[in-house]
Symmetry: C2
Subunit: 205 residues, 2 copies
Amino acid sequence: MLKKFTIEQFTKELAADSPVPGGGSAAALAAATAAGLISMVASLTIGKSGYEEHWEEMERIRDEMEEARHFFLDAMDKDAGSYAKVIDCFKMPKNTEEEKVCRTEAIQNALYEAAVVPLRVAEKAASLFEYAGIVIEKGNKNAASDGAVAALMARAATRGALFNVRINAESLKDPQKKSEILKRAEELEKEADGAERKALEQLTL
Amino acid sequence: MLKKFTIEQFTKELAADSPVPGGGSAAALAAATAAGLISMVASLTIGKSGYEEHWEEMERIRDEMEEARHFFLDAMDKDAGSYAKVIDCFKMPKNTEEEKVCRTEAIQNALYEAAVVPLRVAEKAASLFEYAGIVIEKGNKNAASDGAVAALMARAATRGALFNVRINAESLKDPQKKSEILKRAEELEKEADGAERKALEQLTL
């Protein structure tokens, strides 16, 4: 599992001449980092005097961000796995008509999965902007810049995951599945920059 | 050393209620990820037919990105260490005039270091945009989106590191050091968004 790799090892695997792990896993890692940073700012606020009115909200945020952090860590593997599956399907035999039909169907199913997995990452990464904005605004002032770094990472994660959504969705033959996924990707893409800017506006530096 | 932590462990340490590791180390990790991805696209291009004219440039890029990846991995610790030093200095005794002078000087030196370390990260992260643009444009088309994710990560790394530069530089008493650092930070900040856009424009998706 990629989350069990050391950071040094993971970046070495990224750099290697194999397409997996690649940008999809890197995007999920950026999202896990963002969730971790938001969790930290919330943790540094809970119990700190002067912030009493926000303790309860910060506890809720910390718990949700811990759930999100684990989701993204697992998504690093899911993304790599779904892409590896596509590559495997392309290697299936195509000698007979039957084999060709079978191979095409397997490729289409794998591509759909390889589009949906990063779409879920992008959707959840896009949900981080709101949390980042809240911890920057109401959390421990000394850690506000960590919330700001989280917003930057959430944008990189969202937009990065969407590149993988698009690449795989573009090759889908089912027009409805294809257009549904591409439409959702476009919405998320449009939201990301504005949502990041809104979160960062809370920072008074 | 943070680079020896597993990804799971590092994000857990980020999330913990301690300011270190925080946004500075996360920014350095994003930069290491970006360098790794650029290195991957270059590696997937070297030796691939159809790309002969770019093999030599891709070899140079791969080598430079490997150097950069190690620089950023080490910067994760340097950043955390320089910030921990600032916190330690604030805990120094301040009972006598002599102690106060000594403490102030130690804090100022530590703050300078804690501003310069992320400034070097930001400068080197900002240098990644050009490489990302080249591998997207001339590298293996199948991996172009990985180069695009690298550009997103480079922006998050550059701007993230600059938050830490500013926070620490703002407390510097030496007006010349302070203005020099803040001026350089402003330049890099202004460049980042445009440089990312320019790199992403090479992507035909």
